[in-house]
């Protein structure tokens, strides 16, 4: 029940296209859903996060869509650029209590120029 399932494992998108990564969870106590971007040899960097009281959050080219009833959330990267090529992890936590982040398996994104 603590798992977060992420898909796809890898994704190739043309420059300027839209990258979409999906995650699903079971634990209804999760109330915080961040996305992290990781470049090789680096630590995960917080990209954008959402709480379940909203269905969408947008920051620049990055948008999280959240479907509470389906227990799913997704990351959309608009106008994808080669510099976006990285591994993306979704995560979830019962945030209020300082609880651990439960990570998805990661998606390796490659943006072709």
């Amino acid at each position: 029940q603590q798992q977060v399932k992420q898909s796809p494992q890898s994704l190739i998108v043309q420059k300027g296209g839209i990258s979409i990564i999906n995650c699903a969870y079971e634990n209804t106590a999760f109330d915080y859903f961040p996305w992290y971007q990781q470049f090789p040899g680096k630590g995960p960097a917080l990209l954008i996060a959402i709480r379940p009281d909203v269905s969408e959050k947008k920051e620049g080219r990055f948008t999280i869509s959240f479907n509470k009833s389906a227990k799913q959330f997704s990351l959309h990267i608009m106008d994808s650029q080669p510099g976006d090529s990285a591994t993306y992890f979704c995560a979830a936590s019962e945030g209020e209590y300082g609880n651990k982040l439960v990570f998805g398996a990661g998606t390796i994104l490659r943006v072709k120029s």
Partner: protein, 114 residues
């Protein structure tokens, strides 16, 4: 911009040896975490620390592991007797408090056990 720092960036040790991984969390943060990432796999939670005590630990965090905040700035992870399977990237993270749920990760320490 404040950031989490970790030392060393790479640690090579022999099986059975003790290692201490060091982290300096963001200065006004109150929650501290250790995670690990085995090469090519997802990030896994090890332990969380708040108010000078462990608040939660995973099954991975057995008696060989310990954490300490020896002063007002450092946060350490000790592995008493390393095993080959401890080889991984170890990430420290910190979080402010209250309604701010965002966890900020350090650059990691690559631990190689030979």
């Amino acid at each position: 911009e404040p950031e989490v720092t970790q030392t060393p960036s790479h640690q090579v040790t022999q099986m059975g040896q003790e290692v201490i991984l060091r982290c300096v969390p963001i200065s006004n943060h109150l929650y501290f975490y250790w995670y690990r990432q085995i090469l090519g796999q997802k990030v896994e939670f090890l332990v969380s620390f708040y108010n000078n005590e462990i608040s939660e630990k995973s099954e991975i965090f057995d008696d060989q592991f310990s954490v300490e905040r020896p002063d007002g700035s450092n946060f350490t992870l000790k592995i008493r007797s390393t095993k080959l399977e401890d080889s991984a990237m170890y990430f420290c993270a910190s979080r402010l408090q209250g309604n701010d749920y965002e966890q900020y990760f350090g650059p990691g320490t690559r631990l190689t056990v030979t």
